[in-house]
Symmetry: C2
Subunit: 578 residues, 2 copies
């Protein structure tokens, strides 16, 4: 019958891969949602404890106790179970997708450590995000599922298929973090791939849609929303979101965000390298593993203490609440605020300071605390904090413009009101664009806010930010790859016309050290002595035809040599002769 | 000084390419806008003529005269100036980007013919679009600009750079057609590329943003809108655009759209092959070039005659107006329509028929007339007509669902109204997805409507449509490539796991006919006789080492042979001996 035939066709053509991708998406969404849930509960517990205390001192200890303990737990747990789980994961996935095999990086132990460690870190309220780690987690899920299927079936053992599935997993990771399927796919392609095979495009989408759908449906069922919604839903008017003249300001936001982004990458790298440079400090910290996490988390949490400096940086709000309030559609600086508007603004001003001062301190402290927090030996991403810094910066510019043009911009008979929330969105897109050198952040932010009204300003700012940042610094991911010294082939110069005139012969090594079949021991020994810095030697058929047979690493070669002419072997031979 | 240094850096790093891409985007946008303007005026002229006439007969002639003349002019003009301008352009760009050189396809003559011919065809109100042709036009603009710069500078002669610029041009073409920069870039990548280099991602975006910005700014300045707007702006409420239960219906729309999409591709190919099959008819039509355009355009225009069958297919509206009314945010079938709503609905019902009947006839006639019109020997795309068929289908389903649940869908205390306009958007995305096998249509439609509320339903429907359509038929572009017999390497099976077990040895030719340096004339003659169907021979160093030196085409080989041992040469030699 027709249906049976069609079903058969579906299974054969879409078959295993389709089911695999759907399950992958659903699993990662459930993990992501569960993490969010636990983090939410941990936050509640902390606020509860804080409210329970009465005098400032006990309030302070209530405020710091849970976070510091969680960070210590996280760093200890990760260190014991799988140190590979430390950090973001996107730089590592970037190198893995380029064909490098990082040992133990996609194992179950790492998965377990990353999930638990990440939840604890986020629950501690550190200025860190879950996007990068979720990409890593999704990749491990994909790898483990592949192994499972292979053990059942045996058809899945294929190198290129593995890469395809990992690419899809990266897309799922980003999608499930923000509930942004399209943006997730594009962002993951942009930050992890060099060349992308269009025929795999659907894989990422298929999996990401299942993931994002599950993620949003869980929120819908659990939180009893009316429908599936965007995570940072905005409410800008349909008509006149902005006047074309404002595009100039948006472009300027883009340029400055590009500068800040490059500065962020620069400061991050400098700080990490500085911490690594001092050998004595380093040895001390490695022997006392808990000192550094303790100091940093204590410092961060203390700065966030709401009765102290925290009141200038809206520290009573979670990252999501901060972003939601920054995106809110009203001018904070206006006089006649409604009660609900007043509630939002009150978090962003104190008895001693205005919103402008608070926004500046918010941006500056987040900037430095993010850098400090990202060096903690725990699973961590920093996308969301970069995102909220951008949102804060955009809100600041928007409020200043609104202060400057309180009546809005008049063009002929139209009057275009200034919407500082729109500026906030533009900043939130432009700053991560400068840090990560990505363009598809435009799509991510449209999906996150559920509105696409500001797409043109966002695009203008993101492109400007990209151009400026690319001129000055590598992207954060590439910078981390450099810091970690991961094997990585740098990109071809993307834009210079000169790139077309660089040939391999311009930088290739002409005097190659190689080993051939009939090489004598003396020649081999000289080779090993001469090229002490070479870590692997090519093996060719003969010096005449130079047909490449393979390569051998120095330590492998030394091991083989030792096996054949080492002390033990010589003793053996001597024993035979006796 | 700092600014000077920065500017120098900007020029060196972004330099020529950046300026090139910006100019490309702006030029194409101006061309696209100018075409739209002329088409709009031609439509006005036609309506004016139609309103001038009083009795039905003269009204009929007023209605048909301009379109038929325009189509005849277009086909004649294109035939005389550059026959390469006929058709869409996307299939050809697909092959060009795969490295094939299509002669005269990117010349100035073709550009001129395509621009004029396309404007005339669209002005005639044929059920055709401008998306494909605009991609072609943008590619020609890029090629001509490259040539210009090369003649000035000489640095631009590079094959890979050319491909990169063409890929960016394709993105600009789509972007300027719909004012959708992101969707344009993604769609163009998806339909034209096989492998995509991420480092060129920014090129497409850069150029597309300039294009889309210019395109929208022109509309803003010229049409005096309040701000930059989306071309099919929708107005759905912020809250509750749909209930998650409706996702099932959306998925069903996707599946049926996939089926219809495959049917469309199938019917289109069958019709073209049928028209080509009858040799006598073919010869007759080629000798009388104007007969076929005349008959087809007359038939289409007559069917569209508003006093006749046209009243059942909303033919008084242009394609854009049709889409705008299909996307409108109210239920057509409800009782208490406002005056402005009544005006919209009146175009979609007649004294003799309801909206349901009209929607069905609209879909069916558009289906067949699009196929007929796309075989006209004029520049033409068919994206927008496929798009509006999908919108009509979605609206039909939406109206039926609204009829079924007049009170909306109740879940607990929430009541979710049915928004047939939302269904229309989903249909408008799913049907083109089935025809073109693209996923990024989701982004295109979000940008076109300026709303992203329905993203999840759209994604679900688009994926379902893709899956179904891919099982049954190639995409329309691939189908046209097959019809035109363009050189084209088919895609690797995208989803079957079996694809990983197909090796080159499974289908490679083992008994290769080749030519080597020392081949004798006899051997060469035998080779040419044996392999009469082989159009090109590989040349190797010697039959022993089989090192490939290059290849020679049969006709080249025959020409060379003739030069050396042909009649003239022999006469020459004979003359020497005499």
């Amino acid at each position: 019958n027709l249906f049976g035939w069609f079903w058969q066709l579906l299974i054969t053509k879409l078959g295993e891969d389709g089911i695999f991708l759907a399950v992958l998406g659903i699993l990662v969404a459930v993990i992501s949602f569960a993490q969010d849930y636990v983090v939410f509960q941990l936050n509640l517990a902390r606020i509860y404890l804080y409210d329970l205390a009465h005098d400032p001192t006990s309030k302070y200890f209530a405020w710091i106790s849970i976070p510091v303990l969680l960070v210590l737990f996280s760093s200890g747990f990760v260190h014991l179970v799988a140190p590979q789980a430390i950090g973001s994961g996107i730089p590592e996935m970037k190198t893995i997708l380029r064909g490098v095999i990082l040992k133990e990086y996609l194992s179950f132990r790492t998965f377990f450590a990353k999930c638990v460690g990440l939840t604890a870190t986020l629950g501690a309220g550190m200025p860190l995000g879950k996007e990068g780690p979720l990409v890593h987690i999704a990749s491990i899920v994909a790898t483990l599922m592949s192994k499972l299927v292979t053990s059942l079936d045996g058809i899945y053992e294929n190198e290129s298929r593995k890469t395809e599935m990992l690419a899809a997993a990266c897309a799922v990771g980003v999608s499930c973090c923000f509930g942004a399927p399209i943006g997730g796919v594009l962002y993951s392609i942009e930050v992890t791939s060099v060349f992308f095979a269009i025929r795999n495009y659907w894989r990422g989408f298929f999996s990401a849609v299942f993931g994002a759908l599950t993620f949003r449906l869980l929120a819908y069922w659990y939180e009893n929303h009316g429908t599936i919604t965007a995570i940072f839903k905005t409410n800008f008017p349909h008509e006149l979101p902005y006047d074309p003249q404002e595009l100039v300001i948006y472009a300027l936001i883009g340029v400055t965000c590009g500068l800040f982004g490059a500065t962020f990458v620069f400061c991050h790298r400098r700080y990490v390298l500085f911490m690594r440079k001092s050998k004595r400090l380093n040895r001390f910290l490695q022997q006392n593993r808990f000192i550094y996490p303790f100091v940093i988390s204590l410092a961060i949490t203390s700065i966030y203490f709401p009765l102290g400096t925290g009141q200038f940086i809206a520290s009573r709000l979670t990252s999501r609440q901060q972003v939601r309030s920054l995106f809110s559609n009203f001018t904070w600086g206006k006089d006649n605020l409604t009660v609900s508007e007043e509630m939002i603004v009150n978090e962003w001003r104190s008895d001693y300071s205005s919103i402008y001062f608070n926004l500046v301190t918010f941006i500056v402290t987040t900037f430095f605390l993010t850098i400090a927090a990202s060096t903690l030996p725990v699973p961590s991403g920093c996308f969301i904090t970069i995102f909220k810094m951008g949102a804060g910066y955009g809100r600041l510019v928007g409020e200043l413009v609104a202060l400057w043009f309180p009546e809005g911009i008049r063009v002929g008979s139209y009057v275009s009101q200034i919407l500082p929330g729109g500026y906030s969105i533009v900043g939130a897109a432009a700053f991560p664009a400068g840090v990560t050198h990505s363009i598809s952040i435009c799509v991510v932010i449209s999906e996150m806010t559920g509105q696409i009204k500001h797409l043109v300003p966002i695009l203008v700012a993101v492109l400007a930010s990209n151009v400026v940042a690319r001129l000055l610094q590598p992207s954060l991911y590439e910078s981390i790859i450099m810091i970690k010294k991961l094997p990585y082939l740098p990109d071809i110069l993307p834009s210079r016309t000169q790139a077309y005139h660089v040939y391999v012969e311009d930088f290739m090594v002409r005097d190659v050290k190689y080993i051939w079949k009939g090489i004598t021991f003396k020649e081999l020994r000289d080779l090993l002595k001469e090229g002490v810095k070479i870590r692997a030697f090519p093996i060719v058929d003969s010096p005449n035809n130079m047909i490449l047979l393979g390569s051998i690493q120095r330590w492998e070669l030394l091991k083989v040599l030792d096996l054949h002419i080492g002390r033990e072997r010589r003793l053996q031979v001597a024993a035979q002769w006796q």
